[in-house]
Symmetry: C2
Subunit: 269 residues, 2 copies
């Protein structure tokens, strides 16, 4: 059986593009719909109830477009909304936290794992919970990095400002002897070279979004949802609640797709 | 939620122990029940209908013991019985072919992939189908190696005989310019050093069983079936329809478990 319905990806903004990039590489046959709630980004500082509400709005929008599987490609939204949404919708739903935590446990030799994420993700303790449940002896150091998402969303992730902010923000992780650092926000892989440079070469970076694509492949196989139809004109469409221009600039730089289609939509009731 | 029910593994004999070994490493909290149908091994040369019947017998036995998820840790049985069993039982069921095929596509740079397996697996064309559906341009060379399973089951996998048989059997793969070789039988990882030596260092070996454990972790997370209860006395129990002594010798050598419990059972009606 071949299923040409698109896979849906949602994020507070452009962060989920790091997940899409890996999906395009590993799953080149799949049609993709993406929705970034750029107008209300960042989600990190918002109360959980509001993030849940916004995530439901995005979910309903993409389900109405006929997606076959939903990836909550945002750590903040995964932390507070995954369980509820997964339980209530009819399609498979996956988030980015469990795959990231699992990859970190596999990668770490010393059991000293760091997690960087938004305020919301860090406050939710979701990574700590996942890591500790599976490996009670692991030591977890978490750090909220509220300045990172705005840098990425304003397309400054390669700038000298980015270098300065990353270096200053990560100071509390010095002398923690971490051997593994979870990039617990899908925006952060765009800052990865700078983060790696600050943390040092010996620290293994875990890209929670890229890890999620492994789970996505597994679930497409498990639920028999793969698209094998190669004659199909491939759909890869992006929706944003914010400025399509800024979104397109970042997407063009990060992904390698010609004629990227970005459409503005509104989610407010 | 924590679920202490065991995970079930079934195989025609001791081959599935290569999957269990990886499961013990990646999922140390989980309780495990294993059933090897050693008395009727090998499955490879048997007609598909018979393999399906035997696989159902093993499945029913372990479901009666209360497993929460079944791994068909045998390529021959996966090829012919996975779809039917998965559709008809109430617990999640996974096989070893899709994970192996997926890993091979990820690993191969040149798109020239080899598959070695039993007569049954090779005749089923299951790997070709999986590989070609996902990547139509991949070139697949399959080879049945009917002598490998008996060598492993008779605990001769480190012997000079094993070296000779492996070298002779793999001659048809010379000059095929393969860069990736799927060990499409869970017995074969016990012969891996010999196979690697014959194929050369540059060929990447894909252990379909070990890859399956990644899928297993994903599904335990997805269906919320993990065991987090560490105070539990861990169960790791092995059933065989054949000689417990021979089974135990191989299991002792391959796994690193003290006081391995091996019990003889009968599956014939």
């Amino acid at each position: 059986m071949s299923n040409k319905q698109p896979i849906g990806f949602i994020d507070s903004g452009v962060g989920g593009l790091t997940v899409v990039k890996e999906a395009l590489r590993q799953l080149p046959n799949e049609n993709i719909l993406y929705l970034g709630d750029t107008a209300r980004c960042p989600y990190g500082p918002r109360p959980a109830e509001q993030v849940i509400e916004f995530t439901w709005q995005m979910t309903r929008f993409l389900i109405d477009q006929g997606i076959k599987l939903l990836v909550i490609a945002c750590n903040t939204a995964t932390a507070v909304a995954l369980e509820e949404i997964k339980a209530q919708v009819d399609i498979p739903v996956i988030g980015v936290i469990q795959p990231g935590a699992r990859a970190a446990l596999k990668a770490s030799q010393t059991g000293k794992v760091g997690v960087i994420g938004t305020l919301g993700t860090v406050k939710s303790m979701s990574y700590e919970k996942e890591l500790k449940e599976k490996s009670p002896t692991v030591s977890v150091t978490s750090l909220a990095c509220p300045k990172f998402v705005p840098i990425v969303e304003s397309n400054q992730f390669l700038s000298p400002v980015a270098k300065k902010v990353v270096a200053e923000t990560l100071v509390p992780l010095h002398n923690k002897y971490l051997d593994t650092l979870i990039l617990g926000c899908t925006h952060y892989p765009l800052l990865r070279p700078i983060i790696q440079n600050v943390m040092g070469k010996k620290v293994t970076m875990i890209d929670s979004g890229a890890e999620t694509v492994n789970d996505l492949s597994t679930l497409l196989d498990y639920f028999d949802l793969n698209n094998y139809d190669l004659n199909d004109n491939k759909i890869c469409k992006f929706y944003t609640t914010g400025s399509p221009k800024m979104f397109q600039e970042i997407a063009d730089e990060w992904l390698d797709i010609r004629d990227l289609i970005v459409e503005h939509i509104s989610l407010d009731d």
